[in-house]
């Protein structure tokens, strides 16, 4: 297998309403990734694009802006996991020798819809009933609290941490650092989740260049790239079996355990999600996530920093861009970890799910492990 390297990354600021079109946003992020990679249009064998609501053929529309026509352009949709899936397929194309160098894009303009909760498929049985993403996570939260004895304060602490991180990320959509009471007293969305425990609607794009070649900068190698759909049926809402299953394969591929991971960007669309995923990723045992959070280990200066960029809660969640935004955050950290933030990290993990349809625990889960050289 040919090792796949991330040569360069790019990302627009995430914003409630960004100037420009889907093409404008993605081309800006894509150009940054290409320039920072030192590759030219002639080097790019294919374009992969993750997007949900932007209409037909976004890869081709964006390629036209970047001089990348006349080669394959793949369009991938997996809800919130769309550009993570694009990255996954790009990595596998490089690993198998299909392409030498590819550009991966993720982009979304949710401001087109004027805000509110994510527009799900209206023909879906659960959605027709009124089930929304906040409602699904609220029921997971309620089940987790009942099963473990965790409290609503434990949930809110996730938002305090990640929104505090977002306040230090110039690309984050939400830059306020609320206190615990402010999180708890923000308006209710779906009990027990309050507004500041939910990600927001917004616009943005992210990009990465994946290649078999090693660039001039500190190399970042993709050591695991795993993706799976979930399963239908009755699941334990207090646990996250899909993430557990996918990460087990990813750790095996990368030859690591959970203890080896220095930095994680995980799918905290809602506060409860981060607690469920601590446990599913093996950072701690069932019911121990609130203690792990309180220990400080997952703070930005902790031994395993989780959502340093603010996560979905604070960076924002233009859904087609999120999977790659996580990759951008981790690659930048592996390349250039600020010394005052805990020293050199060499192993990062991104975790991105997609859901919102009847019967599944989650519809999709993508996990990548990235190793700094």
């Amino acid at each position: 297998m040919i090792p796949a390297q991330v040569l360069g990354v790019g990302m627009t600021p995430f914003a409630r309403r960004a100037e420009g079109t889907v093409e404008d946003l993605a081309a800006a992020a894509g150009l940054d990734a290409l320039v920072s990679s030192g590759v030219t249009a002639a080097d790019v064998d294919a374009v992969y694009c993750g997007n949900v609501y932007g209409g037909m053929l976004p890869a081709q529309r964006i390629a036209a802006r970047l001089g990348l026509t006349g080669r394959p352009g793949y369009n991938l949709e997996a809800a919130c996991s769309s550009s993570a899936v694009a990255f996954h397929l790009a990595v596998h194309a490089v690993r198998t020798g299909l392409y030498d160098t590819v550009l991966v894009l993720g982009v979304e303009k949710l401001s087109t819809f004027g805000g509110g909760t994510l527009r799900l498929n209206p023909d879906d049985l659960d959605v027709a009933q009124g089930v929304t993403m906040p409602a699904v996570y609220a029921m997971r939260a309620r089940s987790y609290l009942d099963a473990t004895g965790a409290t609503v304060e434990d949930l809110a602490e996730v938002a305090v941490k990640n929104r505090g991180n977002g306040a230090r990320n110039p690309r984050a959509q939400f830059r306020a650092a609320p206190t615990l009471p402010e999180v708890l007293e923000s308006r209710p969305v779906a009990d027990p989740l309050t507004l500041l425990q939910c990600t927001g609607s917004g616009d943005g794009a992210a990009a990465a260049v994946v290649s078999r070649h090693v660039g001039d900068r500190r190399p970042v190698t993709v050591t695991a790239s795993r993706f799976s759909s979930g399963t239908t049926g009755a699941h334990d809402l207090a646990r996250e079996p899909l993430t557990s299953r996918v990460v087990a394969d990813a750790y095996t591929d990368a030859g690591i355990t959970a203890d080896d991971v220095d930095v994680i960007e995980l799918h905290d669309a809602f506060s409860i999600a981060e607690l469920l995923y601590y446990e599913a990723l093996g950072l701690c045992g069932f019911g121990e996530a609130p203690d792990l959070l309180r220990s400080g280990r997952t703070r930005r200066d902790g031994r395993c920093a989780v959502n340093r960029g603010g996560g979905l809660l604070a960076r924002g969640h233009p859904i087609g861009a999120t999977g790659l935004a996580q990759v951008v955050e981790v690659v930048e950290w592996l390349r250039d970890p600020p010394e005052h933030d805990g020293g050199r990290a060499d192993t990062g993990l991104t975790h991105c799910t997609g859901g919102g349809i009847t019967g599944y625990d989650h519809a999709a889960c993508s996990i990548h492990v990235l190793a700094g050289g």
Partner: protein
């Protein structure tokens, strides 16, 4: 958008009652709601349409405070466990004082009613609650 009926193949009227329909695999016994063409457990295609138990218990619920198209806020949704092992997600007709473990039954009703038209289907009514 005209008025619509949610998943007409997944339920039927039985007099005044509403019956939700699943498929049962004749090979492995797996029940699946809504009805499917192949068993997700064993890939069997010899499937029988069977009625689901009308009554179940609330597994988890949430009151959501954000209105949706044709649904006024607040409203409540729940996961409901049926005695045959099925778990369905759906709206609660009423939720005052309803807790996990409480009994509910599937009833017919209007799920959405707005400028885009109505959506008719099923929802869950707490058993023993005042109508």
């Amino acid at each position: 958008m005209p008025d619509s009926v949610l998943a007409p193949g997944a339920w039927r009227r039985d007099g005044a009652d509403l019956v939700l329909l699943a498929t049962r695999c004749r090979r492995c016994g797996e029940r699946t709601f809504p009805p499917v063409r192949a068993c997700p457990r064993c890939w069997g295609t010899d499937l029988a349409e069977v009625p689901l138990p009308r009554r179940g218990t609330v597994h988890a619920l949430t009151v959501t405070h954000v209105a949706a198209d044709g649904i006024a806020a607040p409203y409540a949704v729940a996961y409901v466990d049926l005695p045959d092992g099925s778990r369905l997600c759906g709206r609660l007709e009423r939720w005052d004082g309803v807790r996990p473990g409480d009994a509910v039954e599937a009833v017919g009703g209007v799920l959405r009613d707005g400028p885009a038209g109505t959506v008719t289907g099923w929802l869950f009514r707490p058993v023993g609650a005042d109508p």
